[in-house]
């Protein structure tokens, strides 16, 4: 099945003597190809959900299936392989390596894949071109604007051609215009066939997504959102 299945996922942290239930038995299915937004107040568990989906944080209970792969039954090293093959990360603070150029940052995921050096460059250039950043490929990240850095980060997330892109507040550090551009880019990426799961606080971003999942206190919150379950082809996205 081409889908992501959260099956009764819980995550509990122990801080001192107190137990914090970040996720409480979440069950959820996301079809591959969807563009899903996860919204909710701070501490509602949305970032934890994204980390678990990305194979970065082991849940306390429950299972996560991605294309029938039980992600947390994999060894630590195989889970790294899963991230490389299935997941592209886009972070709020871009998380580019500051001493590497834009193209080197984009190539990073390919450095541990069996891709020849020439092919690495070609792939990275093509990806940078697709996000409109090819002419700045040799610059260091700090010589780019916030929007450009996020484009570079998106290019890095896409260079391995992963089926799923996870975006954690991708516009959190950007102005309105740039946010709009980045959301359009993510929207295009989704239209090209990739699943996108995005955590956001910005209601403006919801108009680009196909489904909105609301969370509160570690649980899914059943509420109506204006854009929930509207297929992307019926949405008026400029």
């Amino acid at each position: 099945m081409h889908e992501i299945v959260f099956d009764r996922l819980s995550k509990t942290y122990v801080t001192g003597e107190e137990e914090v239930h970040a996720l409480r038995g979440i069950s959820l299915t996301i079809a591959l190809g969807e563009f899903v937004a996860v919204v909710g107040p701070s501490g509602s568990g949305k970032s934890t959900l994204l980390s678990i989906l990305g194979g970065l944080r082991h849940p306390s209970e429950g299972t996560l299936l991605v294309e029938d792969i039980d992600v947390y039954s994999l060894s630590v090293e195989r889970r790294a392989d899963f991230r490389r093959e299935f997941i592209g990360f886009v972070f709020q603070s871009f998380q580019l390596v500051p001493h590497l150029t834009v193209i080197e940052n984009v190539i990073l995921p390919l450095a541990v894949a069996e891709v020849a050096k020439k092919a690495q460059k070609e792939k990275a250039r093509a990806t940078l071109e697709s996000v409109g950043l090819l002419r700045k490929q040799d610059r260091l990240p700090n010589a780019l604007s916030g929007g450009e850095q996020q484009r570079a980060a998106i290019a890095r997330a896409l260079v391995n051609d992963p089926p799923i892109v996870l975006a954690d507040e991708p516009t959190g550090n950007l102005d309105t215009t740039t946010s709009h551009e980045i959301m359009q880019l993510l929207h295009r990426i989704n239209r090209e066939g990739r699943t996108i799961v995005m955590v956001t606080h910005n209601p403006e971003n919801l108009k680009y997504v196909g489904r909105c999942i609301r969370m509160r206190d570690g649980e899914l919150h059943s509420g109506v959102d204006p854009v929930v379950n509207v297929p992307w082809e019926h949405r008026a996205v400029s």
Binding site: G54, E77, A80, R83, P109
Partner: protein, 385 residues
Amino acid sequence: MRLIDIALRNIGRQKGKTAFLVLGLAIAVSTVVTLHSVSERMNAEVSASLDDFGANILILPKSDDLALSYGGMSVSDVAFDVRTLREKDIPLIRTIKNSDNISIVAPKLITAADLWGVRTLVVGVDFSQEKRLKRWWSVRGAFPDKPTEALVGSDVSAKFGLTLNRRMRLAGMDFVVSGILEPTGSQDDGLVFIDLRGAQFIFDKPDQISLIEVAARCYDCPIDELVRQISAALPAAKVTAIKQAIESKMEAMHRFEAFSFGVSGIVLVIGLLVVFANMTASVNQRTREIGIFRAIGYRQRNVITIILTEALVIGTLGGLVGFLVGSAASTLVSPVFGLKEAGGLVAGPVLGLSVALAVLVGLAGSIYPAVKASRLDPDAALRAL
């Protein structure tokens, strides 16, 4: 881009830290190279001078019976007329495979004779060899240079009131005292030394020799091997190594070597700690970078590879610099240690050893930080920022 490129980029961007680490390893390696080279030279030179200082091999005629003590060594007694060594045996000693190790060959003819009615041990020696063999001898007057001159021990001199240039009669022949030995505390004090040929003549033992003392340089050749070779060359002789002399020499030789090893060990441990502290700090500074690597699919072993590659490159540089500095330093400090020859390093093996040592220290100091880095929780590493 490969993992090695990532490691090289990281080394390149942290020039100050890299230089510090290279310097730290270079100091450690150069110290080891200097001490190693100086101790090698010192051992060789000390060994050479110690080997000339007294005999370490004794050659006696094969004899089962009766023995007299000579300087703590066993020698045949009055019965030495029965079986003796011959003068023609002497050159044979220098025909052995390791003849270069033979430093001094001192033949002796030992005979008891009457001196003013008292039985006294008279030793015929080759004074040119004896002088070199017994460097501790202090002679009042001069060594005999004529067959009719004698050197007397301090006890003999005192007992008979012998002074320099006094005449004395041995086996019907007059001898002049040319020199008197200062007290040595050994049996030499009670002996009369005359020229070997003169002794053979007056005691009517032409060509005969009672024993041969040999000083061999055994630094780079086991003494037992020399004994075996001499035994083969002189089948009629009993060749014995004087173990006590050898052991004390070996002890003296290896004392500085032990000191060098000790200091080298300490310096290498300090080098290891420097690498460990720096690599740990470096890993801590790169938490975010490592978190990114892990998040985008780098395996733990990929992270370890990056950090150990850095250590390998830094270690190689440290080894090369350390070798060059150490070679120069050993040349400079050689005179301080009173060494006649400076340096004398065999470049190839020592260079290889230097690089291997620095790489080993670099890797050993980086293993824990590398493993620690690989185990960073990527989620926590990225969230913490």
